[in-house]
């Protein structure tokens, strides 16, 4: 039997939903115009006043917000309430040394718990479940987001956080955890560790997996489902909106239901920036309709996808998003970390020994992302000593690790190996298959 956390909203008619979205957008636009110097300036620049926004149809009059805007206003420039009303701060992995910061009021946290609760219940989690949260707890939104949503529906939460896998497995077996919430790659690692430890999966009571924070393939899903003897669900979210719980798959697994009374989704043409009709592929744009602390107005996710508005077999009318089909910028997500080729470029340029050419190569081997960067050394820096090249490789590796947060494999290649391009150079090759 289908379970809903908030049936009224999740199954609301399209007209009712638009009315609710309109009402909320009008309030949100008044809030950001009156309470944020940043948004007021942006709206004034575009010649838009709050009174121009009368319904959700007027949303396309509003200016976009981008990741760059968040960086430029680091850390609190986009907060729209006084600091005394902010009760929680989170931050996502930064790629230029500056993380993306998110601030939440008490009501924002309640909203977040609500959408995670809806997500969990859509995946079949209830108060009768014992849910092991193996997302990292801390600045990362995964751990506390899943924790609060699970608490709201009344599940018994086991807050193991990530890591210490042996203990995770022991507790999972001894406590009889029925739900596992973590990244899909960690789920696979746990599955393989269970096998290695000599445990029998029959001694475990797992039945549902809530996996997100990184892209994963259907093959990976089948692999996890088989090894852990569970049904695996994709939960979707981004720090800028709140974290996990912006949407989740239901039992039909026919797309990700987005909780659009809180996060209004649009699909735009990434070149003309014009909204596209339902079903067409384009860039996903979100507007926070209820998050008061740090609302995002028309935030460009850069994710390419399609939206489907037909009622789902589960009874939900909530819009469904297809799999992410790519990016409208060149950002790579490697081991869950956002990597921009431009960041790698600026690091390579810091090294006088290196030519200003590089090539990033990403693949997935044994369910772990590989991260190679090819660099060329300038002719005058070659010597007869191989130890000097090895030391250079080590220094570049350490620098990338400290800026990006993950360790690359630096490959020094022979001169003129990396393609020189007259036009827009290709800086990354992604061999991973997500479709």
């Amino acid at each position: 039997m289908t379970m809903y956390w908030n049936k009224k909203v999740e199954c609301m008619s399209r007209e009712e939903m638009r009315r609710l979205q309109s009402e909320r957008l009008v309030k949100m636009v008044e809030h950001v115009y009156n309470d944020s110097t940043y948004y007021r300036k942006r709206m004034d620049e575009c010649g838009v006043k709050p009174q121009d926004i009368r319904s959700i149809d007027d949303i396309s009059k509003l200016p976009f917000t981008t990741k760059q805007d968040l960086r430029d206003n680091y850390p609190f420039g986009l907060f729209c309430v006084p600091m005394e009303d902010i009760v929680r701060l989170h931050a996502s992995s930064g790629t230029t040394g500056k993380p993306i910061v998110a601030g939440y009021t008490k009501d924002d946290l309640a909203m977040w718990s609500e959408v995670v609760a809806r997500s969990l219940m859509a995946a079949g989690v209830s108060k009768d479940d014992i849910m092991q949260v193996s997302y990292g707890y801390g600045l990362f939104t995964g751990g506390l987001g899943a924790h609060d949503g699970g608490t709201l529906i009344g599940a018994s939460i086991v807050p193991t956080s990530s890591g210490n896998t042996e203990k995770q497995i022991t507790l999972m077996r001894d406590f009889g955890s029925t739900v596992l919430a973590c990244t899909p790659s960690y789920a696979l690692y746990i599955a393989d560790s269970i096998k290695k430890s000599g445990f029998d999966i029959k001694d475990f009571k797992l039945r549902v997996g809530i996996f997100g924070a990184e892209p994963w393939t259907d093959a990976m899903r089948r692999d996890i489902e088989e090894k852990l003897n569970i049904k695996a669900f994709d939960i979707y979210g981004l720090t800028e909106m709140c974290g996990p719980g912006v949407g989740c798959e239901c039992e039909c697994q026919n797309g990700t239901h987005l909780w659009e009374d809180h996060f209004y989704p649009e699909i735009i043409d990434p070149v003309t920036l014009q909204p596209l009709p339902p079903g067409e592929k384009g860039e996903l744009v979100f507007t926070n309709l209820t998050k008061w602390g740090m609302p995002m107005i028309r935030y460009r996710t850069r994710d390419l996808t399609t939206l489907h508005y037909e009622t789902c077999e589960c009874g939900r009318t909530a819009v469904r998003m297809s799999k992410i089909l790519g990016r409208s910028d060149d950002m790579l997500i490697i081991r869950g970390v956002n990597v921009f080729p431009s960041t790698i470029e600026s690091i390579i340029l810091e090294f006088p020994e290196c030519e200003p050419y590089y090539m990033i190569e990403v693949d997935r081997v044994n369910n772990t992302d590989t991260f190679d960067i090819q660099v060329e050394v300038k002719p005058e820096y070659y010597t007869d000593r191989i130890t000097e090249l090895a030391a250079l490789k080590k220094r570049i590796t350490a620098r990338v690790q400290s800026v990006v947060g993950i360790s690359p494999n630096i490959k020094i290649v022979e001169p003129n190996t990396i393609e020189r391009s007259m036009g827009k150079a290709k800086h990354a090759i992604d061999h991973r298959k997500f479709e």
């Binding site: 050394v377 002719p379 070659y382 010597t383 007869d384 090249l389 490959k411 022979e414 001169p415 003129n416």
Partner: protein, 141 residues
């Protein structure tokens, strides 16, 4: 006292050395000795050739990462224990060797030595009356 060694950075890729051999063959450059320092991903090929300047220029033209550097070419009799005496003198002077390789011709062995301190190594060897080859001497072998 010193000779020129040609060093070429090479990725571990099929056929790279054979391309170098072809370039030298076409230009009439003779390889007298070579060795490779390597790790899993790349290596540095060290060569003693008949015309190091020309060889280096040719390789650079073809985009090889080639450099010239000075090394010592020690001459010693090709008999047991000959090298040991020379190495003992070098070690006693506190000089360490980055890499070395050797080739023998007739009753004489030539040992290419890349010490961490070239000047000091030359000094120690000549104080101890060891014979080192010059470029001209080498080319006449």
């Amino acid at each position: 006292m010193l000779i020129k060694q040609l060093s070429v950075f090479l990725e571990n890729r099929l056929g790279r050395f054979s391309q170098i051999a072809k370039i030298f063959s076409e230009a009439g450059i003779n390889m007298k000795a070579f060795t490779v320092s390597e790790n899993a991903e790349f290596g540095v090929l060290h060569l003693i050739v008949s015309d190091p300047e020309k060889a280096c220029a040719l390789l650079r033209e073809k985009s090889f990462a080639a450099t010239l550097n000075d090394v010592i070419c020690l001459q010693c009799p090709d008999v047991p224990g000959a090298l040991e005496v020379a190495l003992a003198a070098i070690t006693e002077a506190g000089i360490s060797i980055e890499y070395m390789y050797a080739f023998a011709q007739g009753s004489t062995a030539s040992v290419i030595i890349r010490p961490n301190d070239l000047d000091k190594c030359i000094e120690v060897l000549s104080e101890n009356k060891f014979k080192t080859l010059t470029q001209e001497g080498l080319n006449s072998i």
